[in-house]
């Protein structure tokens, strides 16, 4: 997927003025947030499980080379094929060569953000192979020629009316006067159409929520069952994974699974958790004849041993974006690449470069809600700050910001002058605001005052009041 993260500011303004999108985004707040809170409240051990999950992943990352090698030998022993890829181009090539060898005409796909990362769909189409997204949300956006705007709810930016219009435009073989008023009718129509696609497909591609070193297995977690039909019916099942999906044992995965659905959708457990180990076995009457795992690095190993290592604990639940005031306001497309929201703001600069994605870690108020709800306790705000530092060090920060920061740091290192200047400014702003206590407009602060009043300081600065002995609450 070609990054458009440099366009973040323009994308964000456009999103804020998009009435249709704003209506669609309203559902994020009411839905996911309350459901997660209820699910977490119902499990007394939830917070302790978060600590344990963090420790499991930390241990795994410290021994990642060994666990990967162990997983590979188990997966191979079960009859699976492992394809190691450093870059998206290598991963595309690995998938294409399997599909070509099998003379594949049609490929069904379960939901996978990594296949977005490597842009497999256009590559398959170029090779004359028809990629069919089967997750309902992914199917909807494929019809619309769009990319996912949320990692677990890819069509969250689309309203029901838009989906109805898309279905009428695409499914032209169905009667034009059919009733599609209810979402049930839309779900049923997609079900009927995709059913045939599962049966016709030569290859099924799914993602992987986890790879398990103990057994050489891959795991997918879904609610629709599309991933299961995708991987069970065709001749070959290709799992698209990255190195950070690794977890040591079945017990360790079980612990993390207790957090995943609760954090993502507020479910106690997703409808389907599927553990796959190799291809069809002797005596089996169904299942894929070939089982391949494409395991991609794409910059992740470069984050190990750095201040960004902790982000590799991520299990892609989406809680950080559901709770992010910035994501709630602009949706996922504005971020310009595969991973939106706080996780995207940390991961994207690591994967495609801070020069390309430096605006993303700046798109945060540091309110801290993402870290508060992250099941893996990833310190997302701290990492965004690290990216801002890197951006500043490599002189990518805009000139005006650098000058402003330079002035501030000059002033901050001269306490006498700093107190004098802030004292004058506080009194001046207070005088300007008058009795209302708020400013309607202020030179250099138009970005703020265009949308809301600026509360003015009440008079003397905190430090001045502290000095004069005014130390207790009045």
């Amino acid at each position: 997927m070609k990054p458009a993260s440099r366009e973040f500011k323009n994308n964000a303004s456009r999103a804020l003025n998009d009435a249709q999108l704003q209506r669609a985004l309203n559902t994020v707040q009411g839905g996911f947030i309350e459901k997660r809170r209820n699910a977490a409240d119902k499990l007394p051990e939830f917070e302790t499980l978060r600590d344990q999950a963090r420790d499991i992943k930390n241990h795994t990352l410290e021994h990642l080379d060994l666990y990967l090698a162990e997983w590979e030998s188990k997966a191979t022993a079960a009859g699976g094929h492992v394809h190691w890829c450093e870059t998206p181009a290598e991963a595309r090539e690995a998938i294409l060569s399997i599909c070509k060898r099998l003379n594949a005409k049609s490929v069904t796909k379960g939901k996978s953000m990594i296949t977005e990362e490597i842009a497999i769909n256009p590559a398959l189409a170029d090779a004359g192979i028809d990629p069919v997204e089967t997750d309902l949300g992914e199917y909807i956006i494929q019809l619309r020629g769009e990319t996912p705007s949320h990692i677990i709810a890819p069509a969250i930016h689309v309203t029901k009316d838009q989906i109805e219009a898309d279905f009428r435009k695409t499914h032209t073989h169905l009667p034009g006067d059919r009733n599609l008023d209810e979402s049930t009718a839309l779900v049923n129509e997609a079900r009927q159409i995709l059913r045939q696609k599962y049966i016709e497909a030569d290859v099924g591609i799914t993602g992987a929520n986890f790879l398990i070193a103990e057994t050489g297995s891959s795991v997918i977690v879904t609610n629709e069952g599309n991933g299961d039909l995708t991987q069970t019916l065709p001749k070959a099942h290709i799992v698209m994974a990255t190195i950070d999906k690794m977890v040591p044992t079945l017990e360790d995965v079980s612990t993390i699974l207790r957090l995943l659905a609760r954090s993502a959708t507020g479910q106690e457990f997703s409808a389907y958790t599927t553990w796959s180990t190799g291809p069809r076995r002797p005596g089996d009457l169904d299942g894929p004849e070939e089982y391949h795992v494409v395991v991609l690095d794409n910059g992740r190993s470069g984050m190990l041993g750095t201040e960004f290592q902790d982000v590799l604990r991520c299990i892609r639940c989406g809680a950080c974006m559901n709770h992010c005031p910035v994501y709630q306001s602009i949706g996922g497309h504005a971020y310009g690449w595969v991973y939106p929201g706080p996780i995207g703001s940390v991961l994207t600069p690591g994967l495609i470069g801070v020069d390309e994605a430096g605006q993303l870690p700046n798109a945060s108020t540091f309110c801290g809600r993402c870290e508060e709800v992250c099941p893996m306790r990833i310190p997302l705000p701290k990492m965004m700050r690290h990216w801002r530092e890197k951006e500043f060090e490599s002189k990518l920060t805009p000139h005006t910001v650098r000058t402003g920061l330079g002035l501030w740091s000059w002033l901050a290192r001269r306490p006498g002058l700093y107190h004098l200047a802030t004292g004058i400014a506080a009194r001046a702003l207070s005088a300007m605001a008058g009795r209302r206590g708020r400013l309607r407009s202020l030179p250099l602060a138009g970005g703020w005052t265009r949308h809301r009043d600026l509360p003015a300081p009440q008079g003397r600065s905190f430090q001045a009041r502290w000095k004069s002995g005014e130390r207790s609450m009045q």
Binding site: A153, T159, L186, V187, E214, Y272, T277, L304
Partner: protein, 224 residues
């Protein structure tokens, strides 16, 4: 250097710090002992309460539940369920001996019973679960000729029979059971954990059942 070696050696440089023997021992120990982490107290209850919790949790995610006294009573329960939902008297199951030994002809003479993997036209399937997890009302099914995986996903109506004594408190209890049956360090080709029927929230976050997998999940608990 191959991509594999390049990736692994980059990881080793970033995390290795030279102590290869110590790291290898730590990894081998963790995999061998597969120690349990914290298990929620919720499932740590006596057998009767555990089955009740399993049932309540399954119903909470829109599964339906029936009890029968013995596996001989399953055919009647299945036929009644099909009548209740106006479904054809036709089911498919795998080669599992529990299903094969049920008195189908005697107890449900109008019911047509076929075996094998699911076909697209099948409307109802029957599977035998290896276990259930009370914690979340989850069924655990393993692949093989006994229970072909397609039976779990292709038909619109999935009936699963489970012995009450196979309902465990936690996922971890099930792993131990599967290790005992299949050996350490491996799993059956597919292990399906099923918690309620198929669903989607992809249209404006409204939950709709039967997105791709079964619209209905009916659990028959064999109390014997």
């Amino acid at each position: 250097m191959s991509a594999r070696d390049a990736i692994l050696s980059r990881i080793r440089r970033a995390t290795g710090r030279g102590d290869d023997a110590g790291r290898q021992a730590a990894v081998a120990e963790r995999l061998k002992s597969h120690r349990r982490n914290l298990i929620p107290e919720r499932g740590n209850i006596d057998a009767k309460a555990r089955i009740k919790l399993f049932e309540d949790m399954a119903i909470a995610v829109q599964a339906s539940v029936a009890h029968v006294a013995s596996s001989n009573d399953v055919p009647e329960a299945v036929a009644a369920y099909l009548r209740q939902h106006n479904l054809p008297q036709h089911i498919r199951h795998g080669a599992h001996e529990t299903a094969a030994n049920m008195p189908w002809a005697e107890k449900a003479p109008a019911l047509e019973v076929v075996t094998g993997p699911a076909e697209p036209a099948d409307e109802v399937s029957l599977s035998i679960a290896v276990g259930g997890v009370a914690e979340t009302g989850t069924l655990v099914l393993t692949s093989g000729p006994d229970n072909p995986t397609t039976l779990n996903f292709l038909p619109e109506n999935h009936i699963v029979a489970i012995r009450a004594s196979d309902v465990a408190g936690s996922y971890e209890d099930i792993w131990d059971r599967i290790r005992k049956a299949h050996g350490e360090g491996t799993l059956p080709r597919t292990v399906n954990m099923v918690t309620g029927p198929s669903r989607t929230g992809d249209i404006e976050q409204r939950i709709e059942l039967g997105a791709h997998g079964p619209r209905r999940l009916h659990i028959v608990i064999i109390d014997e």
